[in-house]
């Protein structure tokens, strides 16, 4: 076991240490905390590269690509609970992606957050997030993964609510935490079930892990009361956790609201890494998801994977539809993220780990690119987020425009030169070949079309035409300063953009059908380069179809928004003019928030009120009744006392007092009178004695 495997824990530990040190920093120690965070992240990145090359070496030498380190944590009863970390291709690739994107976003943040009061705290939270996220990635125990998963949720909560003085931010943070926690609880139950079934939560433990053959066989064979295999139930519950974290329908509502956080946060957490953790989780427990009994055909998808596919496909289309009608630059990207996450899930469901993960990696790069570009735009436009009030930025912010365009084309899946094309193509190809149904394929295609359309719309609104920022500022009386002109962002922000843009293009090269390096890397095989890969069954038609779809989307976008420049911010949207009813539904996100507001949340608060009422009136009422009864009895007893017992008692007391007074007279305080009595008594006593002796 090599040095890097033994010390893999350093990768999350370094940012955690940085977070701890930054937490102690004073508010004005900006350079120190930023340097600390970036330095720790840089070191983690280097270590991740080491880990990556270690896995590469192992694969090329034909050694087992997965290495685990387990250690005991605490004991209960007769057993020790163990945790552990592992290094396998999936971990390695995620480590490199997260540390790289994280590093770039850290650098970007120094520019973006330069003027914020709580600069040091921001880096503290970011480092903590990075630590937790890296912990999720290297975990070899579902428990450790869950713990880091929750910590990721915490940091997400802290960062969404970073501008806590805005009530909307505070509310969004709470909503994010609670919505994901709903999923997490299902995850927890799934984990408990898994624990009770497999007796361990370690993924791999020399044959005894819960993702290894013996445990899987046992779980598949164990049927629950409703005839479902235990493995299916567990897989579905764990998937529910992923649904929450990755913003899948129906728990997607928090992700768009999470855009209340600072833009680097949106780029890092809510585009590239944390939301992808759900996909990563499904990929991690894929053996469980795909576990089937030996009797069934190996080709047919398991129930769990079917559910994953359907949820992913529906989410992809659903979110894309909503994105079409949004006006906030970050919300559009947020819904786009939800949609792309749906793609990843679908990819996992129909095509396996490599398909979904490839899209995860490419998406991480171009979506963080887009978010950071959007951040740059927002920064340049002085915190304006409404795309209707932007426009004409292509000349004012050339670097941002160029990189944004790359990201947009990658997201749309523009053919051949952009990574998004290859990864999306892989998903669509797998969907077409899915044995259960073709519908996910059609849904995916529709999603691709919509993606191209809404991204074109956004780009036209933001970068083309004339600037509508000034006109808006003139229109509002509140503008007492000169109308601000948009400006290009500092180099600390553009540099990461350029770097990410190049990645968004180049990454596509590792996953083409001709050189499926990514696929083989994940399955631990050496890749083979062959153009014949293109000629495999069904590849070329799918490529053509998706190319057509992308062009169709771009053209539609141009038709609606590019033909004539958008002149005023107040003009209704082109689609709104065409179909106002549908547009309103989309703009209001299919009224899902309202639906939840009127059902779940209302029931919940009704239950809360009911419970409080129960407390106040029923439980306490019983007690009060009993105590009142007792009080009544005691009142009765008291009256008896007062009018019957007391009167006679008082009489008795009076008698005693009077006689006491009489007796007190004897108590004259004069010794002589006492002695007199003594004398009389003595005489009397002697007389009595003598008399009694006589008789």
């Amino acid at each position: 076991m090599t040095w890097i495997v033994r010390n893999l824990w350093l990768i999350p530990a370094l940012p955690a240490l940085a977070a701890g040190l930054t937490a102690l920093a004073k508010r004005h120690q900006r350079r120190y905390s930023a340097a600390l965070a970036i330095g720790a992240m840089g070191l983690s990145f280097l270590l991740s590269l080491c880990a990556f090359s270690q896995v590469m070496l192992a694969i090329t030498h034909g050694q087992p690509s997965r290495q685990v380190v387990n250690f005991p944590w605490f004991e209960f009863g007769n057993q020790w609970l163990k945790l552990g970390w592992m290094l396998d291709p999936l971990t390695a690739i995620m480590l490199v992606m997260v540390t790289f994107v994280g590093l770039l976003i850290f650098i970007y943040s120094t520019g973006y957050m330069a003027h914020d009061d709580n600069f040091t705290r921001f880096f503290c939270f970011l480092s903590l997030f990075a630590a937790a996220m890296l912990g999720v990635i290297i975990a070899n125990s579902l428990l450790l993964l869950f713990m880091c998963w929750e910590l990721v949720g915490l940091t997400s909560y802290l960062l969404i609510g970073f501008w806590y003085h805005k009530p909307s931010a505070a509310a969004a943070a709470k909503k994010a935490f609670i919505t994901t926690r709903i999923g997490d609880l299902a995850f927890l139950v799934g984990m408990l079930w898994l624990f009770s079934q497999a007796g361990t939560l370690l993924f791999y433990d020399q044959g005894a892990g819960c993702l290894e053959h013996s445990a899987l066989t046992a779980m598949v064979a164990h049927l629950t009361g409703i005839g479902m295999a235990a493995s299916t139930g567990i897989a579905l519950l764990i998937f529910a956790g992923a649904v929450g974290k990755s913003g899948q329908v129906p728990l997607h509502v928090w992700l768009p609201d999470a855009m209340e956080g600072p833009t680097p946060v949106s780029a890092l957490i809510h585009a590239a890494t944390m939301v992808a953790a759900g996909v990563f989780l499904v990929a991690r427990v894929y053996p469980l998801m795909a576990a089937h009994s030996d009797a069934a055909s190996a080709l047919s998808a398991t129930t769990a994977l079917q559910v994953v596919t359907w949820i992913g496909a529906i989410t992809a289309v659903f979110a894309a539809l909503i994105a079409v009608a949004q006006n906030d630059i970050k919300r559009i990207l947020a819904y786009s993220t939800v949609s792309q996450l749906g793609y990843m899930m679908m990819g996992l469901g129909v095509g396996g780990v490599a398909v979904g993960m490839f899209h995860l990696i490419t998406h991480a790069f171009f979506k963080s690119l887009l978010f950071m570009g959007a951040g740059s735009v927002i920064h340049g436009c002085h915190e304006e987020q409404d795309i209707r009030r932007m426009g004409g930025l292509s000349k004012l912010m050339p670097v941002t425009f160029a990189t944004y365009a790359v990201g947009m084309l990658a997201l749309c899946g523009f053919p051949l030169f952009f990574s998004g094309f290859w990864s999306k193509d892989a998903i669509l190809h797998a969907a077409m070949g899915w044995s259960i149904s073709r519908i996910p394929f059609y849904l995916g295609s529709l999603g691709a079309l919509l993606t191209a359309f809404y991204m074109t719309r956004q780009v036209y609104y933001v970068f083309f035409g004339t600037s509508r920022l000034a006109s808006h500022h003139e229109a509002t009386p509140a503008a007492h300063t000169a109308p601000p002109t948009p400006h290009e962002s500092p180099s600390s922000m553009t540099f990461p953009l350029v770097l990410l843009a190049s990645c968004a293009i180049l990454l596509g090269a590792v996953g083409t059908p001709a050189w499926p390096w990514f696929d083989s890397f994940l399955s631990g095989e050496a890749p083979i380069f062959a153009f014949a890969g293109f000629l495999e069954h069904g590849i070329l038609p799918v490529m053509l179809t998706s190319t057509l779809i992308v062009f169709l989307g771009l053209a539609l976008g141009w038709w609606f928004y590019g033909r004539q420049p958008i002149l005023s911010a107040d003009l209704p949207d082109a689609l709104e003019q065409l179909q106002p009813g549908i547009f309103r539904v989309l703009q209001n996100k299919f009224y899902v928030d309202e639906l939840y507001e009127h059902t779940v949340i209302r029931w919940n608060s009704a239950l809360a009120t009911f419970s409080d009422w129960l407390d106040r009136w029923v439980w306490n009422g019983v007690v009060m009744t009993v105590s009142n009864l007792v009080l009544g009895l005691s009142w009765l007893a008291r009256s008896t006392d007062t009018y019957l017992v007391n009167t006679s008692f008082d009489e008795g007391c009076n008698t005693v007092t009077t006689s006491g007074k009489l007796l007190a007279r004897l108590q004259s305080g004069r010794t002589q009178s006492y002695l007199r009595l003594v004398g009389i008594a003595f005489a009397a006593l002697v007389l009595v004695l003598i008399w009694s002796a006589r008789s």
């Binding site: 002589q672 009178s673 007199r676 004398g679 009389i680 003595f682 005489a683 002697v686 007389l687 003598i690």
Partner: protein, 163 residues
Amino acid sequence: MLFTIFAALTIAGAVAAISLRNLVHSVLSLILAFAGLAAVYLLLGAQFIGFAQILVYVGAVAILIVFTILLTRNDGTFGTSSQASWNLGALIVIAVFGTLAWTIHSSAALQHALPPQPEATMQQIGTALMVRFALPLEVIGLLLTAALIGAATIALHEKQERP
């Protein structure tokens, strides 16, 4: 014969002690009564007691009373109780004496013959005190000490507080 004289002396002293108006005279009469009693003890063969009686009562108690009288001086009233309570007191005293006398007179226990005169030498008394009655002796010593300290405290207390 001697007994009758000493008895008369004793009673006379006692009566004078309680009835004289001048307190100092009373004490002098008291000394007479004590002395008479001491003589009676000697007649009865209890030499030690007799001398102890003179030492303690005549030598100590009577002198103590004299000092007290001097310390409290004369507050001018020597009087007896009011007439009614005087009468009552006299009646009670007579009743008590009557019962006592009658009891002595009618007691059957007094009809014994005289036993031989017992010896009560100093040596005997000393041996008895040191052997059989050692503990009571200790206790009485303690009691005396305590009484002494107590008396001193009671008498001196006020003086210190009010100089």
